[in-house]
Symmetry: D2
Subunit: 483 residues, 4 copies
């Protein structure tokens, strides 16, 4: 059967996915906000390419549109016009792990409740969603999606009945939810943004020239819409924008140690974003420098696997003195509906997504920097490409430590059986991928990529030190995975 | 602005819409049920043309697909294959009155709850949904659609927690819901079909050659899939099909007087369907015969406005002895995306959807039978067409009484201000539409169309005698109508 | 494999197809002509449902859009707007017999040549296209389509080099082309319409209120756009509309005996159209009357197979005194992308497209009128439907003579091996379709349907008397039929 | 009005477009060639993103599919399967300059003629197409497209009548055509590839493991399908692959001085391609080195504008010793249907397509390498971006000489009035784009990018030395540009 690679990245690109990007604007005055959110989401598209949506609040009425596809596929000019103007708006892009009912899981989740409407955009994953969902079900709640976000909506709305305001409801919810959640919510009159007490996922705030507040997963979307960066939200903080301006609520949550996902720096975020004061590009370059010290190589050229390996390659080059080169070219035109070759043909067509630049690597001893090795097959193919283009040696350096543990916080770093580093030793992996040498960034250095407190990062996928309880049940236990 | 008539019927066709068709199969053995439901829904498409969906239960896992569009637009071969085989399946087609969020309101509604999944297809409208929804909201329930069906899902699922089985839960719900509901539901192991205690909407049952049970809004869908008609469900009856066979539950509901919507016979149903023993075609022919007696005309030919006026015209011809003729031709190719002319042009292009057959009407005194007059503009246009084609007189006969009251049971017979018969006398309407004479079927005779007990019909839109309480709040009060 | 019935008519409807409808307007003043043509083509859609196109001439520049699909599928509001306003416009709808490269064969054919542009719409089929094409090829002409229309374009344009005007070029071409051609053409400054010397295909002319000239295959499209019918073009006539008004050229062609396709009356044309003075509905009714005389039946009810059988059924009823009834209902919602059942399932789902009205036929001796029997399978299915609905006898009457010969003039009446009447006697066919009796209209009476000279019709598919030479080579010999 | 950027590159990317990529395979044995061409075209997609097509020859029958869109948009698995297997296949991707009738201009052009079919794919532009077309028109030829390719088809086919073989016909045509043409053609039995006598556009040849011959505009497509590079075609060479193997014909053309478009190295080609022995990446790096010598800068970091500026930036860095940095990030998710901001908003949203990496440029004196300046607005925006990100100085270096003359050979380097370098001096341009200094590569050095004979390049857009006559008439004179 002919197979369409819904996620073309799989052909020979990266295999780890962030699940979401969130974006929100509080403008106060009616403006064509749908379009602004559209541009914001386009800048966050790397965080989720399977579905997206925008909700606009015009005079307390929330309209929305969401569907499967990239931002520019889901929204036509007609649809943006239909969503039109409003005082508040939120948007979401998503990489869905769940398959066939993906459309239902698209966000924003927009619900009606006793006090009006609520639109909710969530980046992250809860570790107690099984228990929360079970509890809600026992109260007679029904679920139309398989996403945590519906659980969160219930929790907030049920709090809303007990408390006098949506912010009190969200504050209370933040104590009930465990796991990763950077959220942007819109009530009839307010925009709310919050970050879980560990700060596992990033979330920042900016301001447009006209005084509108903007919230975004990453600063690159602030840049895109022309907003000035103000600051990152703090872990456990709730920021509320309403007609009285903006205010921060920080007293409601138990103070937890900050645990920002270090893989945001290594891979997820766009390299022009700045997270908690540290430019992502800088962190990646530093990873390259660390690698050069940890795993020096006697080589002629340093190349990076596009896109995130490029930054680290520069760092490696700087530290080692080995010249930086452009050794791999990525085909930009492999879209969502690209028809992948069958297994047999694929072997012969390794260069479909990546091709080696022969003049860079021919006759050279090459250091190749990539950000991860998941199952090893992709890495093996790339190494082979470089050898076929004439490299005499290929030394692979990975700008992250080996994946040894699944992630429960909203990325799809997989179960142990799929992680090559759980099954093989580093020399074995080196052999498998056909490299002359292989070095991974140490966890220790991964904690020092940004200059911040080394304990303020979640490195659980590398070292197994989960900041939260580990979920006893996962979604896969509950929901049949439907292909 | 160029306007696309999403409901092309509006151009010069009928202006009253049924809201839904429901269909379900319990096959016990795994079969390609999605396709069977597809054919069943195609036969019920006249009951709802805006959205449709199919859910298939394979080994207790429910998969579904639903979207805006006709059945043949929403389902591709790939999607049918993806839904594939199963033991139980349900389907729904819908005419949505609510506008922009129509996709969310598409059915089947598929929910997860503490005991598994439930897929629900509903034809009808509740009169106490405002109160039920309010009550649920006060318990912290959230709503993702604006349809009654979500309310019903909650009621059933909350009952499910109290009672030992899904059938007990549905039985209890049938006592809580007030209004019209013919429903087909699918739990992990059962197919359930029920009809409200008044029997406002039709629902029948049949059997395939292989012993599979089929439920459908109308018998025409049984014919289509090759099922043998067994019987109509009784008002207040719940039929359950599971591995133990089929059984009927009738004891749980207060016995209410039967009140089948008489407009099902007059307009909604397909004329090859048989409802509660009476062929729809026969009822319409009888309406024509009654009209001939109530409003005879000195005329040369009787013609019908396609499609439902044709049956009545034959009856009128039979009773009056005036020859039947084909006087109007309908363009079959005006689809959902047809671009309607602007107001000015429309006047000149009356024949876009209907055209007169000159040789039938030229120089003749014509009796023209239609099934309703809503705002009068369409009727005026058709009368004018016939005159332009040379008719010397046009006597309009309506195979239904005048609409004087809104319908709360799942059709869109509108508010009083939009119903011409509330504002004008019959002579005034006659003048407005340019007819030489005008006669409506009497309510008395409308009650005698089928031979059944004349009190067993709901004629509320004609006589205001609502079988249920009249809702104090309507959806329009609650949900902003978003254009 | 799942099969989509591209032409859903095939499921259980008619199997004979006309190939084209043509439409043109000369407005002189700039107007939104694309939309007018859109409405005109919608009225002619029954003549061709596989592809369509519109070309608009604005200030001597011709823009066009054409594609596969129904008129309302091919044209979006954006595309109509893009074509926009102009002084002259033409349109075409087509039933394509050729398959995969159907898009290329869509019309209007728009070509550039030494004197500017020419847009050409053609209904009919040449019998000497093989020879003409060959001759052109030998001069170095290249062909991008497989349609006659490209041949005609070459002939006209090559004449254009020799003669001083486009009308002279067309006049000369009319002498070179042999076969059926009703054409509407648009040069930078003129609209031209012509009919072949036999008048095999219809073509008429009308006028809008503002004085614009309209040409159309049938009068129903004149009605639709609000044009007053002026007259049918005469066989061999060329009408030219330009800034000097309208003028007719008749002297250029050898006078041939008129041979209008009688099947236009029997089946192709819409029953509200009037061709050469005779209403199509009237001709069909007359066919019914003739049948009642030729093949009377002792029966209780006369029914027609929708759509064109209905008119004849009324005639049969009138003549025989047997009451007319509605015995078959057609599902209107089976669109182009309808997924047809596989062979096995189809047997069980005969009612997919047509269903019997039980109350009309149950316990009755039924006369069923249809317009043709091609392969017999469809007829057998319909007869069976009526029996299953309880008819005690089914007497089939066909409002046309048996097909015994292929048509070379633009319909797809097939080769002899596919025509049942070539292989079986009438009693054999009667048995095959399961009828109690079977009667075909006599060729003699077919020639008397309209009151015009009985020799003025082409009945070649019935009697083999081709007005032209029979082509020695057909397209099928030349062009690989690609599935 | 909301505007969709059909060519999203325009937002802030490059403004020069190549018009085509060509690809062909001669497999001899029947294979699923459509898919191979699909992969080949995906690798050539950068050469043309507006339309594409594939033609497959199975047993001498040519089937094709072409449409507007990217390769992965135009071809579904169903369509590839329909084209299926064959012995020979060709494909084309195109950047269309002509607008609304773009679908007609899509290639391959497939024509039927006296000897069978011919499929033709063309990269380049003729300078004598006006004259050739005129001549053909005067012979009565008609044109259905506005592309040169149709002219070429006629020329070849008319030669075909005179000569005994398709290769003789093509040889003769190569003498009649003047301008740029790298072509791949498919006759019923042969694959033919040729390059114009100047070799203005590239074309190379390779071989699959199974012995199939592959022709492609660039070697990157050979890599992609796993073909081994054999050699580039020589200027004026015709290569024919048929059942007798492959053979080269070189004697038929007047030997012209080789004039390969130098801008292929500078911008058009993918940097992993190798043209006439010189890796494109290498040529670009060399451009950077030349720039460093011609226009040194006292700076802290060298950055490139993605994508083609990156290679040159590395060269500049190498030569100057100034460190290379990643200073700009390109948003990969701006697809064809991206909705561009209106003029006013765009000013505020400069970072929509490109964003500066603050940590690379902040506080630094930056050398920024781009490949061209067309109108200056894009360059001004990028310079501004870098300044806003904190750069203290921005020194712009262009890896090409200034555009001073239009290109007549298949790119859209525009008319003089649109080329900024024709209107402004370099200091004026420097000021306009807001740079601290500006340096263009000298024409002299542009001729030395590859190490080949400096006279073997066409630099006409820079120095006005056209290898051919300059066309007196352009397509724009003939064909109304329809928006």
């Amino acid at each position: 059967m002919t197979k369409i690679y819904k996620n073309a990245g799989a052909i020979s690109g990266h295999e780890i996915h962030e699940e979401c990007g969130v974006f929100g604007i509080y403008a106060r005055e009616k403006k064509p906000l749908a379009k602004l959110v559209y541009y914001g989401l386009t800048a966050l598209q790397h965080r989720g390419q399977e579905a997206c949506g925008i909700a606009v609040n015009e005079d307390r009425i929330i309209r929305y549109h969401k569907d499967i596809g990239l931002v520019h596929e889901v929204f036509t000019p007609e649809q943006l016009t239909a969503l039109g103007c409003g005082q508040i708006a939120v948007g979401h892009c998503r990489y869905s792990t769940s398959g066939s009912q993906a459309r239902e899981n698209a966000q924003p989740m927009v619900v009606r409740h006793v006090k009006g409407q609520l639109a909710l955009c969530h980046n992250g994953n809860l570790v107690n969603s099984f228990e929360l969902r079970r509890e809600l079900e026992l109260k007679g709640c029904i679920f139309q999606t398989t996403s945590d976000t519906e659980v969160i909506s219930y929790i907030i709305i049920q709090n809303r009945l007990k408390y006098g305001s949506i912010e009190d409801a969200v504050c209370a919810a933040m104590g009930q939810l465990d796991g990763a959640f950077s959220m942007i919510m819109m009530s009839p009159a307010k925009l709310l943004a919050c970050r879980d007490p560990y700060g596992l996922r990033p979330l920042c705030c900016g301001m447009l020239e006209d005084g509108s507040y903007v919230f975004s997963s990453e600063t690159c979307a602030l840049d895109t819409v022309g907003a000035r960066y103000i600051r990152d939200l703090e872990p456990g903080e709730l920021v509320v924008a309403d007609k009285n301006g903006i205010r921060s609520i920080r007293t409601h949550c138990d103070r937890k140690p900050k645990k920002l996902c270090v893989f945001e720096y290594i891979y997820f975020a766009r390299s022009d974003s700045i997270i908690e004061g540290c430019p992502v590009h800088e962190a990646r370059r530093r990873a390259g420098r660390f690698l050069a010290r940890e795993y020096p190589a006697d080589a002629d050229v340093v190349i990076g696997v596009p896109d995130s390996g490029l930054d680290s390659a520069i760092g490696y080059s700087e530290e080692s003195g080995i010249p930086y080169g452009i050794g791999l070219i990525k085909n930009k035109y492999i879209g969502r509906t690209f028809i992948a070759p069958d297994q047999e043909t694929r072997e012969k067509m390794v260069q479909l997504k990546l091709n080696a630049v022969r003049s860079t690597v021919e006759g050279k001893r090459v250091v190749m920097i990539d950000d991860s090795i998941v199952r090893g097959t992709t890495s093996a193919r790339i190494v082979n490409l470089i050898r076929q283009a004439g490299a005499s040696e290929v030394h692979v350096r990975i700008s992250a430590p080996p994946f040894l543990n699944p992630c429960y916080y909203g990325t799809d770093v997989d179960s142990k059986e799929n992680l090559i580093a759980c099954r093989l030793t580093i020399p074995e992996i080196c052999k498998l991928i056909g490299a002359d040498s292989l070095g991974y960034l140490s966890v220790e250095n991964a904690r020092h990529l940004t200059g911040a407190d080394p304990d303020s990062f979640c490195c659980a996928c590398f070292d197994g030190k989960y900041p939260t309880a580990v979920p006893t049940h996962t979604d896969k236990d509950r929901f049949e995975v439907i292909k």
